[in-house]
Subunit: 512 residues, 4 copies
C-alpha cells in the first residue's frame, strides 16, 4: 500500500503519543510547528513514491502490491544499490530521509530469526518477523528505530548499572507478552512515527539477559513518553532549508510498557543479541552513506552557485576548483564504499542480502570523519560573507535594504537577493545549529568511529593476507603447483560465516 | 589610562552611532540585548586590566602611564610573546577578545608611515600615526578595524567595479580633510566600538588611487551606518557560553563621511597600499593564533569534563585519549607557530617589531583549516548525546525533569545537571550558529587560506634553498673553503628587506 | 591461445630487441639477470592462466578459445569487476602485473575507432583495431604500452618544442605505412614485451597533427632502442621480494621506425587524439586501483606478521590495531572506487564498457596520494628494527650469527630467522629503491594527481547539483508537481555523451 | 678543544673497535669504504667548527675554551634556539649530524644526578657527570648514544625475558666498577664514535633493578662488538648525496664489558631510570626537529630546482606552487614547535634548561608522521621521471648518451646533465634505501609516535583546562573578583615539577 503525504499526516492525527518538545506537551504531532520540518521530510518519502518521476526509485514491488522502498528488505545486490540511489535522492531534498531505518531494522530481525528459532523449541521468531514486515509494508507505516540506550555509567554493563532504567529491559513476563521499562536516548524522528521498533543496543552476557530484548510498539503505547527536540530550525527566518526540512530526535522513556508476544523479536536470548545489533548496524551504516551523499550533493551545488554569485569563474580560479574537486572526491569516495558493499553483499538467512561489513563500515567511517572537511571546503569555496551578511530581519528594513542590495551584490548580472539566498542556504547547512547537528549525527549516528574501526578490523580477512605473505616468504611458492592459491570474489570478505552471528570477541561491544 | 568595564559601557552611551540589528534601529548600544554578549566580551578586556591577578598580562606601560595591552604596538620579540599570552588569556574567557585588532592596525600604520613620508614632500603621516596611537592608548578606546571591502564582482579591480561603493574610496578632497563613501563588509565588533580605523583591503594600482585610503572616524560619524548581526546567541537558553560572550560583525556603509586630515593615514598614495595591508595582515594573523588557542583551551577542558561525566576514564580509553591528544597537538601546534613568529620577529621602521611572516601565516593557515578537525575531535570525545539531550525548556517540566535527571545521568557521582551543562557548553561552542561562525571566521578572518599560502610562498627564501642544493650538487663543496655557507638566524626569513614594503608581484593580492 | 611461462620465455628469445641496461647492451632479454624479476612477473601471468586454481580468474573466453584476461576488453560491468579481481590477484604475487596495460589500451583504440571512421572517407580504423586485438589475444602476446612522451620543455606544446624528438611523431607518410621518430619516456616492462603499442600522450591541436599518432610495432623493430632500468633489485641479497619480482621501465627511442598501415590506429587526425588518450587513461587508472590493492594486501599481511614476530598481540595493542585498521581503510577505500567505477561503467562504441571516469579517477587519486601513508602505517606497525637489523651478509658470519639470532629474536616461539625475513620483506617493499619506486610510480603512473583532479571536476555533473539547489531555493518546489526530478542511476555520471570524445576545454591536457 | 676533520679521522685510527659490516670484520673504521659516508658526516661537524663562516654556529665557549656545540648542554632558552640552528645547518649538508645526541644525553645525566645523589648516602653522580662532560668537551670526542634495547618479547618487562641479554644489564658489581652484558639495537653512528654512552631504555621497576644502568665506555672496550649497516649508500653511482654522507646504525653486543665507577651514572637505582630516560628523550626529540628541518631544506631546494629543469615556472603552475607551499608549511610548522619548546624551556637541576616537553613531543610527532607527506610532495613537484631516467651506467654509453642527452633535456637552457643530477638527488633522498631509511628513522628514532602521544597527553595541563571550563560553567565567575585567574607563561607547561622525575603512571613506558 502507498499513502499520500496528506494521508500520512492524517494518520498521525489518529495517534495520541505522549510527546514533549522544549518542555511543552504536544497536542497534535501533525500540526505542531516545532515538528513541522520533520513531518515534511517524512511526508516527502510518501509523496515521492506517488510522483511519476520519482516512483521508479521510491517504490518496491511485493506480492501484496507496491510499497515504499524505504521499507524494503534487500534480497539482492541490485536491491542494495537501488536502496542507495533512493535514499540519496530523498536526502537531496530533505537532508535526511529518516524513514529508511525501518527497512534496515526489519532486515536485521528477519535474518537473525532462523538462528533464534533453531536455538530453542517452539519458537516462532521467523513467523513474527515476516508478519511484522508485512504489517509495516502493507500499511505503509513510518517506523522509528530505538537502539541507543541512555547507557548511564559507560564503564559498567547493563545489569551492573546503579539505575537499571538507563537501558531498556524486561521487567515482567506475562502469558500474553512482556512488560518493558528503560530509556532509549537518540531516536530519529520518533514523535512523527507510527510505531517504534526497539533494538538491543549491544552484545549481551548471560547476566544481561533481561536487557536482550527487541520488540515493536505503537507510538502511543501506554507508558511511553517521548522528550523531543524541535525538528530542524522551525520558524527561524534564516533557516531556508532546515526551516522546511529537519529531523527531531527524542529520548524515549518506557515505563512498564506492555508488548504482546507477536511483536516481540527477542526476549532474553542474550546470545543472539549481538547478531541482531550487528546486522542492523551493518545495514544501517550502509544506508547512512547514501543519506550523507545526498547532503554532499547539496554542498556541491551550493558551493558552485556561491562561487558564481561572488563573481568568480571556477575555470579561472584553480584554488577554488581544487576545493570543489576535494568536495566531490570526498562525497563520491565514501559513496563508492556503499556501492562496493552492495556488490559484495552477503546472502544471509531468510533471503536477506546484507551489505559487506568491511566496505559499509569504511564508508560510514569516511563520512563520519570527513563531514567536517566537507564543511571546511564549502566554507572555503563560499567566502567569509556567509556569516557576515545581514540577517533576514534586514531584508525589509526600508532604511537599509536598498543600499545593501546595491553594495553587497557580487556579479552584476546576479541580484543580491539570489546571492544572499545561497549564502543563507550554506550557512543553514554548515554554520548553524542544523549544520552542527549534521556533523555530530554523522559522526556518532549508527555508531562512533571507534565502533566502525573495531568492525573493520574484526571482519577483515587479515589471516588470509598473512598466509599470502607466508607463501611468498617460502621461496618454493611458484614451483609448488599443489599449493592452492585463493582467488576470486570473497563472499562477505569474512573469515568465516560464523563470525557474523557470534558475539564479538573482546573489545567494547556496544555499537551505538 | 585604564577604564573600568562600567566606564566603558558608560562611554558607549555617550556615542550615538547609527546601528541596525535584525532590521531594528538600536537606541543604545550599551543596553541592547542583541549586542550584550559583545559588550560583555569587550568589557572583560577592561576588567582584566584592572584585576590584580590579570593585570600583569593585560597592561602595558608607556610614558603616559599604563594602558591596555590590546592596544600595544610591539617593539620587541618579548612584546610579541606577551601579546600572544594576553590574547589567549582573554579569549579563554570570551571566545574572542576583539579589541586586539586595534593594536595590530596601529602597528601597521606606524611602521609604514616613514616610507610614506619619505616618498613625497611635506607629508606628516608619521606624526599623525603617533598622535593617533597616543589618542587611543591615552583614552583607552575600543577601536574597530574595517578592512574587508564588500568587493562586488571579485573578478574586477576596485576602479573597474560597476558600483564603486562596493569599496571604500575618496569621493572628495577638501582643505580640511577627505570625504569617503563605500562599504566595509565584515567589521568585528563595530557597533560597540568607540571608533573605526579603516584600512585598505588590498594592493592597489594607479587606477585605484582613490581606493588607497586609510583613516579613522568616531563610531557615530555622520554618514556612517552599521548593519550588524547579533553578538553570539543572546537570549537563547541553551547558549551557556555565547549567550554571555559573543561577537557581532557589521556591514559598515559610508555615505560621504568626512575625515579631518589628522585622522588620514593614506589617501591616494596607491603604491603604499600593499605595505599597509600586508603589515596589518601579518600582525593580525599572528594575533589570531593566540585567539584560537584560547578557544582550543575551552574545547580541551570541556572534552575532558564530558568524558568524565560520561563515566569514562581517559586512562582506560585509548581511543578517547588519542582524540584528546590530537586536539592538544593541533592547538599547541599552531600556537607554536605564533611563538616562532615572535622569536623571529623583524625590526621595522618606527621601532615596530613585526612577527615573522612565514611562521605567522603558517600558524594562521593551520588554525583556519584545522578548526574543523578540532570540532570533530571535541565531538568524538563527547559522544552523540550533545545534540540529543533535551533542551533547556525541559529542565523545569515537572512531568519529565525528574525522570530525565535519573536516566540520563552518566557516572553516579556526577549529577545529570552537570553532565547536561557540559554537553550544552560543547554544543554551543561547536554545533550551534556560534560554532559555525567560529569556524567560518577562523577560515576567512584575516584572509583566506589561499591568501596565507600566497604569502608563505612569496616570503620564503626558496632561492637560498636552491643555492644550498646547487652547492651540494657541485662535489667540490667541502674542499672549497672559500665558498661561504649561510648560517644563523635569518632576520625575517625574507629574501630581502625590500619585499616587505613592496607591493606583491602578481597573484591575487587582496588579503581578506 | 595460452602460452606457458616457459613458452613465453622461449618466445622472447626469438626477438632481438635493442636493449641497454646500466649502459650494457643486453644480449638476450630472457636470460638477462638484471631483467629477471620483470620476466618472472610477466611469466607468472602466463603461469596463473594455466594453473587450475587461478585459471578461473585469469582466463577470458572468446570465439577463438580461451585467452589471457590481462588482454580482455571489457564488455560489461561484470568484466570490469572481474578485471579488478584478476589484476589484484596477480599483483599480490608480483607487486605489479604489468601486462594488463595492453587490455586497457586495446579497449581505447577499439572504442574510439568508430568515431574516427565516421569522420573521414575510406577509413578502416575499426577493422584494424579488431584485427590487432585478435592478433594479440590469439598469440597470447605481452604488449608494452608507450604513452608518456619525454616532453622536453613542459611549457611548450609538441610542435613548438626546439627538439621535436622529445615527442613521438610522424616523420614520413609512405604508401605502405608511416615512419615515426621520437621518445617515449616511462614504458613499463618494455624490454621483455613482444610488442609495443604506442599511444598519443595528450590532446593535440591542428598544429600538433604529426604528433597525433597511435600504432603498434614489434619490440625488435628496426630503429627502436630501449634504455632500461633493472627490474626490481636483481641480485641484492636483502631483496626478498623485489629480487624475484620487479618491473623495468625503459626510455624508448624511435629513430625512423617504419609502421605498416595495418598497425596504425591514428595518424594525424588530431581531433581524436584526446579521445584515445582519455579513454586509455580511464581504463588504465581503473586497473591501477586493483594493482595497488594487491600491493596493499602484502603490506597488511606483512604488518600483522611483523607485529606477531615482535611479541605483540594486536588484540592488546590498540595503537597498532588502529594503524592496521587505517591500512585496511585506505586499501579497501580506494578499491571500493574501482568497484563503483565498474558498476557505473558506461557503454561506449564497439561494445566496449568503460569504467565511470569520476570514480576511476578518484580511486587512482586516492591510491596515488595515500601510498605514502600506507608506507607510514606499515612502518608504524613494524617498529624501527626494519632498517636496523643486520643485513644478509651477517647471516652466515660465524662470529656474530649465533649471538644475533639469540638476542634479536622477539617472541620466544618465533625464531629470529623468521622475524628478520619479515623485516626485510617490509624493508624491501617500503624502504628500498623498490619501495620508493612504487610510491613514485603510484603517484605519477597513469597521470599526475593534477591530471586526476582535472578529470574528476570536468566529468562531474556539477550542473545537476546546481539545478538541485536552485530547485530548493525556489520554495514552490514541492507544490509544483510538474517540475521534473532527476533520479536513478546516472549513466557515466557525465554531463553529456559528447564530452567523452571532445578535447578537454582549457587546462593542462596531457594526462601522463 | 676543537679537532679538525683530519684529526678526527686520525683519532679513530687509534681505536680498535670490534666492528662488522655486511658480515666482514672492519680493519680500520676511518678507512672503511662502507662507513665512509658516516665518517664524512661526523667529520663535517669538526670542519664546520673551524671554518670561519660556520664557527659562530658550531662553537660553544666554556671555561676551558671553545668546544663543539654538538656537545653543549643548554643552560638557557637561547642555548636551545642556538642548538636548533646549528643542528639544522649541519643536517642541511649531511642529512644527519649524528653527533648532537651526545649533548642531549649528557644533559640528561647532569640534570638527574642531583636527585640521585640526594636519594642515598655517599653518592657522587653529580661529580661524575660533570667530569664526564668535561672529558668529552675537553677532548672534542664523538660519543654514540646507545638507548634502545633489543627488547626481545615486547610483552614482557626486562627481568621477565627468557633471554636476559636482550637488554643491557649489570651482571657483576665489583669494587672498581660494574660488568655489563646485553644488547642495544639501533645505535646511531656507533662504529665511528670514540665512545658509547649507554642510557636506560625505559622506566624500570624494582624487579628490573639490574637493568637500570647508565654508563660510558670507549668504542673499543673489551667485550663490545658492533654489527653495523653500511652508512648511506657507499659506492653506488646514483647516490649523489648518500654516497658522500650517510649514517650507519649498529647492533651493539655487550659481553661482560667492564665499566669503572667514574663512568657509571646509574646502577640499580631503578626509581631514577624513568627520569634519565625521559629527560634524554625530551632533549633528543627537540634536536631531531632541527635535523629533519635541514632535510626539509634539501627537499625544498631540490623540488624548486627540478621544477625549473622540467621547464616549468612556479609562478604559472598553481598546482606545483601549492605543493611547494605545503612542503614549506610542514617543515617550518614542525620547526616552529622546536622554537616554542626552546622559548618555554624549563630550568632543571644542575643548571640544565630542558625544552618544553609538550612542544618538543608535538614537533617530533609532526616530523615523524609528515616525512612521508614530504616525500609525496617532493615527488609531486618533481614528476615521474625521477625513477625513470636512465641510471649512471648509461651516462658514458657512447651508443645512447648523446641521444638521451638530447631528448631528455627539459628547458632548452638547462642541460640534461643538470636535470638528471637533480632527479638523482631527489631519488636518492626519497626513493632509495636511504630515503626509506630516513622515513623509518624519523618515525621511530627517539621513540615511536605512540610514545610521543603518551608524553604529550601526560605532560599537558589538562587539569588547568578543566578548571577553566568549570569556572565558566559557574555563571558567577565575572562577579567574583576573589576567584583567581591563572595567567602568564607557564613554566614547562607541566602540572607539577614532580611529574618530570616520577615514573609514568601506567601505559607502555619504554620510550624508544
Amino acid at each position: 500500500m502507498l499513502m499520500s503525504d496528506a494521508e500520512y499526516r492524517e494518520s498521525l492525527r489518529a495517534l495520541k503519543p505522549s510527546v514533549y518538545v522544549d518542555g511543552r506537551a504536544v497536542a497534535c504531532v501533525a500540526d505542531e510547528p516545532a515538528l513541522a520540518p520533520g513531518v515534511n521530510a517524512v511526508g516527502l518519502t510518501y509523496a515521492f513514491a506517488l510522483r511519476e518521476d520519482t516512483a521508479p526509485a521510491l517504490r518496491a514491488e511485493g506480492p501484496g502490491g507496491a510499497y515504499n522502498r524505504m521499507l524494503h528488505v534487500p534480497g539482492s545486490d541490485a536491491d542494495l544499490l537501488q536502496k542507495l540511489e533512493a535514499v540519496r535522492l530523498v536526502c537531496r531534498y530533505t537532508g535526511c530521509a529518516q524513514r529508511y531505518l525501518a527497512g534496515d531494522a526489519i532486515a536485521a530481525i528477519l535474518q537473525v530469526a532462523p538462528a533464534l528459532d533453531a536455538d530453542g523449541p517452539g519458537r516462532e521468531y521467523g513467523t513474527r518477523a515476516r508478519a511484522y514486515r508485512d504489517h509495516v509494508t502493507g500499511r505503509d507505516l513510518a517506523v522509528g528505530i530505538a537502539m541507543t540506550d541512555a547507557k548511564g555509567d559507560r564503564s559498567l554493563r547493563p545489569h551492573a548499572q546503579p539505575r537499571p532504567d538507563t537501558h531498556v529491559h524486561v521487567v515482567e513476563r506475562r502469558r500474553d507478552g512482556i512488560v518493558v521499562s528503560g530509556t532509549k536516548a537518540i531516536v530519529t524522528g520518533a514523535p512523527y512515527m507510527h510505531e517504534l521498533l526497539v533494538m538491543p543496543g549491544r552484545a549481551m552476557t548471560a547476566a544481561d539477559a533481561d536487557f536482550a530484548v527487541c520488540f515493536a510498539v505503537p507510538a502511543d503505547a501506554a507508558g511511553l513518553t517521548m522528550v523531543a527536540r524541535p525538528a530542524g530550525r522551525p520558524g527561524e527566518a534564516a533557516a531556508s532549508f532546515s526551516g522546511r526540512f529537519g529531523q527531531s530526535t527524542a529520548v524515549c522513556l518506557f515505563d512498564r510498557v506492555f508488548v504482546p508476544w507477536e511483536r516481540v523479536f527477542l526476549a532474553g536470548e542474550w546470545a543472539h543479541s549481538a547478531a541482531i545489533t550487528y546486522a542492523y548496524a551493518t545495514h544501517h551504516r550502509h544506508t547512512c552513506i547514501a543519506a550523507r551523499a545526498g547532503f554532499g550533493d547539496l554542498l556541491i551545488g551550493a558551493g558552485a552557485l556561491m562561487t558564481e554569485a561572488n563573481g568568480l569563474d571556477l575555470a579561472d580560479a584553480p584554488g577554488l576548483r581544487e576545493a570543489m574537486t576535494d568536495l566531490i572526491r570526498i562525497v563520491e569516495g565514501f559513496y563508492a564504499c556503499g556501492v562496493a558493499a552492495s556488490v559484495y553483499g552477503t546472502a544471509e538467512a531468510a533471503g536477506v542480502v546484507m551489505p559487506d561489513a568491511v566496505f559499509a563500515n569504511i564508508g560510514k567511517l569516511l563520512l563520519a570523519t570527513q563531514i567536517y572537511e566537507m564543511h571546511r571546503l564549502a566554507h572555503e569555496v563560499s567566502g567569509g560573507l556567509i556569516v557576515a551578511l545581514p540577517g533576514p530581519g534586514e531584508d525589509h528594513n526600508p532604511l537599509t535594504a536598498g543600499r545593501l542590495s546595491e553594495v553587497l551584490a557580487g556579479r552584476s548580472d546576479i541580484p543580491y537577493e539570489k546571492r544572499i539566498a545561497v549564502a543563507r542556504f550554506i550557512e543553514d547547512l554548515t554554520a548553524s545549529y542544523q549544520g552542527g547537528w549534521y556533523s555530530v549525527i554523522s559522526l556518532h549516528g549508527g555508531g562512533s568511529p571507534h565502533a566502525m574501526k573495531n568492525e573493520i578490523f574484526r571482519r577483515y580477512p587479515v589471516a588470509d593476507r598473512v598466509e599470502l605473505v607466508l607463501d611468498l616468504l617460502d621461496r618454493g611458492m611458484l614451483a609448488d603447483a599443489t599449493r592452492r592459491i585463493r582467488i576470486g570474489r570473497q563472499p562477505g570478505r569474512c573469515c568465516a560465516q560464523g563470525c557474523r552471528t557470534a558475539p564479538p570477541a573482546g573489545g567494547r561491544d556496544d555499537v551505538s
